[in-house]
């Protein structure tokens, strides 16, 4: 058991975000009147509402305890990292290179030990991706790494 940090932090972040959005919108966009609302009206009101709601979530949570959620830091980094590598790699490494790299990175936190299955999986997924998206759906993508 620990203090209800998820609700406290979540509420505070949302409150800050709401206040920030409301202030940004009030400064940069025309608010208008209730009769003729400008583009800033909705964001200012919603930002205000969100900051109040954030506090409504955070304040009662101060005196509450919960079981701590299990945070999978490794899985999160590997999965998000694989997506970023895919995005960065697609124009440079081509579809095949980006897919293989992304699959290899994504399998790092997988509980099954050994590396052979990871290589086999990367090869299989790459072959499947090239077949489905490049051959099947005729997506115009560079396939292989550019050597120049």
């Amino acid at each position: 058991m620990q203090r209800d940090w998820p609700d406290i932090c979540g509420g505070v972040i949302l409150a800050a975000l709401g206040a920030g959005v409301a202030i940004w919108a009030a400064v940069h966009y025309d608010i208008g009147t209730l009769r003729r609302m400008g583009p800033g009206f909705f964001p200012v009101v919603l930002g205000g509402v969100l900051s109040v709601l954030g506090l409504v979530v955070a304040v009662p949570a101060l005196g509450r305890t919960v079981t701590a959620p299990k945070v999978e830091v490794g899985a999160a980094i590997a999965v998000l990292g694989a997506i970023v590598i895919f995005a960065l790699g697609l124009p440079r490494l081509g579809l095949a290179g980006a897919t293989a790299a992304a699959v290899l990175v994504a399998t790092i936190p997988a509980p099954r030990p050994g590396w052979r299955w990871r290589v086999v999986l990367a090869t299989a997924v790459t072959a499947l991706t090239v077949l489905v998206f490049s051959v099947g759906l005729q997506m115009t993508l560079p396939l292989w790494p550019r050597l120049t």
Partner: protein
């Protein structure tokens, strides 16, 4: 078009090979993701959204709808055999379905789930047809204020009903509404929160948002989960056929569940998960021997499974006739249609009969396909439960990235998926509902446009929301929903203070 003409027209439309194949694909894919715990209908529909760019909007809607109700069938399989709900809608089915499987009655439980799901769907289709005709006639009386009030009621209902902390739900809705503001303001043409990024001019990409919030977040949460590593043992399905006694016990709960689901599915903000829970508690309350529940009562499988399927179908009535999605999955469906340039509304039945009647007919044909396919294929679904998640998730990630990339050909969108995925995982950890965020995001521009129009017409007078009877009805219902939790808290406090 009369109902019969519509139905025959719709059946003819769906039976075209070019449409039927997507209906078939939808229900098979839906069953697949429903069986696999950890990937719900939300994630599957988000994954499929980009593919729908390549087909007609009618086929797209039919396929996505097939995924939705197909997942309800599949979800029951994992619930009964593994006590792992494949979808949130089938969580209740674990309560009595799993004990039945432990008693060696897995086959009967699966049969019950399928038969009740089918019955629920048929009743849902009948209600949908009646309701849609009535709603689209009533909708001609709807003004901007009425639309705005109804959508606000939907958002309030979705964040208060069945949630432990309504404030967290409201915060997610507000955040979703704000994200919906990003991009070019339709009323004034001003750019809001785009920060000079041309990629954001059209707003945040719905596909990237849905994939990040559901696909990526669910993958991260399941990578190291020991329950996802293919634990299913071999389960004999020798006795799929129920006894006469079983049929007698499941008949009335199925009908009651269907009625309940049809009603709650059509209401904004409630949906099929709530219906299945309500059906279960109703069956337990009226049972002669309530102690059987939790120990393998067939009524506890039949009622909720009928309820979630009928709710999944009637939920399309407000979505298609009013253009107002009642739950997050309907919001995704609406988003898919809007991507295709189809704006659902009261004229849909007349202007695009193939859309409405085709969908209605596809429900019937799709459910029939599910019934025919799933009885013989059950062995394959059970075998699929043994695929370790290790092998699946890297492929899911790559398909997800390519899917979102295929929409606009921008790697910006893939990066956005990573960023939204991080937010989605943190929200899931802290138990903030990403589904409510998505509902707010889709409804945001609609609410803003209608609110601005309503105030323009009324010259800034807020009384317009109380003077128009339709809007006033929604406002009263919204206030009642907001006061309900406060009243319950007050009663609880009174009960505690009394000795």
């Amino acid at each position: 078009m009369t109902t019969w003409e519509g139905l025959t027209f719709g059946i003819g439309f769906v039976l075209q090979p070019g449409v039927l194949i997507y209906c078939f694909l939808g229900v098979v894919l839906g069953t697949f993701v429903g069986v696999l715990p950890g990937i719900g209908a939300m994630a599957a529909i988000s994954l499929l959204l980009p593919i729908t760019y390549y087909i007609t909007p009618e086929a797209a809607l039919i396929m996505l709808a097939g995924v939705y109700y197909g997942a309800q069938y599949g979800g029951a399989v994992a619930s009964i055999l593994l006590r792992l709900p494949g979808t949130p809608q089938s969580a209740v089915t674990t309560l009595d379905g799993y004990p039945m499987a432990r008693d060696g009655r897995a086959g009967v439980a699966l049969f019950t789930a399928m038969a009740s799901s089918f019955t629920g769907s048929v009743i849902g289709i009948i209600v949908l047809v009646m309701l849609a005709g009535w709603l689209s006639r009533a909708a001609t009386a709807f003004g901007a204020a009425d639309y705005a009030a109804m959508m606000i009621l939907g958002l309030v209902a979705a964040s208060t009903i069945g949630t432990a902390r309504p404030a967290k739900g409201f915060a997610m809705v507000a955040l979703g509404l704000l994200l919906g503001c990003v991009g070019t303001d339709v009323n004034s043409g001003a750019q809001r929160f785009t920060f000079a990024q041309t990629e954001l001019l059209d707003g945040i990409n719905l596909v990237a948002l849905a994939m990040g919030l559901f696909g990526v977040a669910e993958v991260i949460g399941n990578v190291r989960d020991p329950d996802r590593q293919g634990v299913a043992e071999r389960i004999g399905l020798r006795r799929l056929m129920p006894r006469r006694e079983d049929l007698r016990r499941m008949a009335l709960p199925t009908l009651r569940g269907s009625a309940l689901g049809s009603f709650f599915g059509a209401l904004p903000g409630t949906g099929s998960t709530l219906s299945s829970f309500l059906s279960y508690s109703m069956e337990r309350r009226i049972a002669r021997q309530p102690e059987r529940f939790g120990n393998g009562a067939i009524e506890g499988v039949a009622g909720p499974e009928a309820a979630n399927n009928s709710a999944a179908i009637t939920a399309f009535a407000p979505t298609l006739t009013l253009g107002i999605p009642g739950d997050p999955i309907m919001a995704l469906m609406l988003g898919a249609l809007v991507i295709h340039g189809v704006q659902p509304g009261p004229l849909m039945l007349e202007a695009r009969p193939e859309m409405f009647w085709g969908l209605v007919a596809s429900f019937g044909i799709g459910n029939l396909l599910l019934l025919i396919l799933n009885l013989p294929l059950i062995g394959i679904w059970v075998a699929m439960l043994r695929i370790p998640f290790n092998y699946l998730y890297p492929a899911i990630l790559v398909f997800l990235c390519l899917g979102v990339y295929s929409v606009r050909g921008l790697t910006f969108d893939i990066m956005a998926v990573a960023a939204i995925g991080l937010v989605g995982y943190l929200l899931a950890l802290a138990k903030f509902s990403p589904a409510l965020l998505l509902l707010g995001f889709v409804l945001g521009p609609l609410i803003e446009t209608n609110l601005r129009r309503a105030f323009l017409i009324s010259r800034g007078d807020p009384m317009v929301f109380l003077e128009r009877p339709i809007a006033a009805g929604f406002v009263v219902a919204t206030v009642a929903l907001l006061l309900l939790p406060l009243w319950q808290a007050w009663r609880r406090r009174k009960a505690v203070s009394r000795p």
